[in-house]
Symmetry: C2
Subunit: 157 residues, 2 copies
DNA sequence: GTCGATGCAAAGGCTTTGCACAGCC
DNA sequence: GGCTGTGCAAAGCCTTTGCATCGAC
């Protein structure tokens, strides 16, 4: 589990601004706040729209919930965020950094605790499947549903 | 890709009735209709609640949508149906037969076409991950998002 | 006959959208 | 200054639920 921080060298506003420009769109404080939030909390965090909204409010960064939804969609379509489908807990988003690609999720169905892991064989399996059907691979998502030690113990009562 | 049929020997009503009895619940025509529908259409089909409802209406088997939802949840919790989370197209269900376990889905994000495949390495990857975190493995779900040949060609225009 | 299941319609999450105004470029 | 983005509130979708009635056992 790498705990590397993104070096604070690039405020990423430049990246964001340029990406937006290329699409004829604008850099607004709201969009920056949403992206910055994900950078602040680190790579392994999975937030729902509601949580993003709450956290921004707490740091006195006012963004309406509607705009949070719009920004999450936009940033995902730009490849800066990654949308997750963890069955438990609805739609969530995480930062999509280069050092953090191709990881998968181990989710406790009891308490929601989520661990990440990597395994190149998964991508291989997906690539093989795509190839054998003539599909062009886009993304390979493995969700492992399980019980964490605590919830597994509670279950046995 | 096995295309095996379930032999029509057991109307599965017995299985259903017994499973329900064990939980102090009843075999109703509605529950039977929902399960039978899935058996009729075969193993590889993924239906949403709305589709189940529509198909039952078409064959003049009246079941309210609310009951379809209730039955889908019940049959899933009994292990007779399997709930899928294919990001495209919302919650869907398929028959959970023994010959059909541990398969994964290759989904075209363009048109929704879905192919199934098996690969034991995926389960292995999930088991390894679960073990390394001390989790008890329940289920391993791989979704491969891709473009089918037709949609990939359309994309290049 | 009892108690669980159904149907209907209403309520409930979560997400998107229409519109007037604000503010980025 | 033009035109995109925002905020607000309303609408939309999917799913669940309350309640009276029905029907499996």
């Amino acid at each position: 589990m790498p705990a590397s921080f993104t070096t604070g060298l690039d405020p990423s506003s430049h990246v964001l601004r340029n990406s937006l420009h290329d699409r004829g769109q604008r850099l607004t404080p709201q969009r920056e706040r949403v992206l910055t939030l994900f950078e602040r909390i680190g790579e392994g965090s999975h937030l729902s729209a509601e949580e993003v909204h709450q956290r921004l409010l707490r740091s006195a960064e006012r963004v309406s919930l509607a705009t949070v939804y719009r920004s999450l969609r936009l940033l995902s379509s730009m490849g800066l965020l990654q949308e997750l489908e963890l069955p438990e807990g609805g739609r969530r988003f995480e930062l999509a950094s280069d050092t953090h690609r191709d990881h998968h999720h181990l989710v406790c169905v009891g308490c929601g605790r989520t661990e990440e892991f990597e395994n190149p064989q998964v991508l291989e399996a997906g690539a093989t499947a795509a190839q054998s059907h003539g599909f062009r691979l886009l993304e390979c998502v493995l969700n492992v549903r399980a019980l964490c030690p605590i919830c597994a113990a509670a279950e046995r009562l």
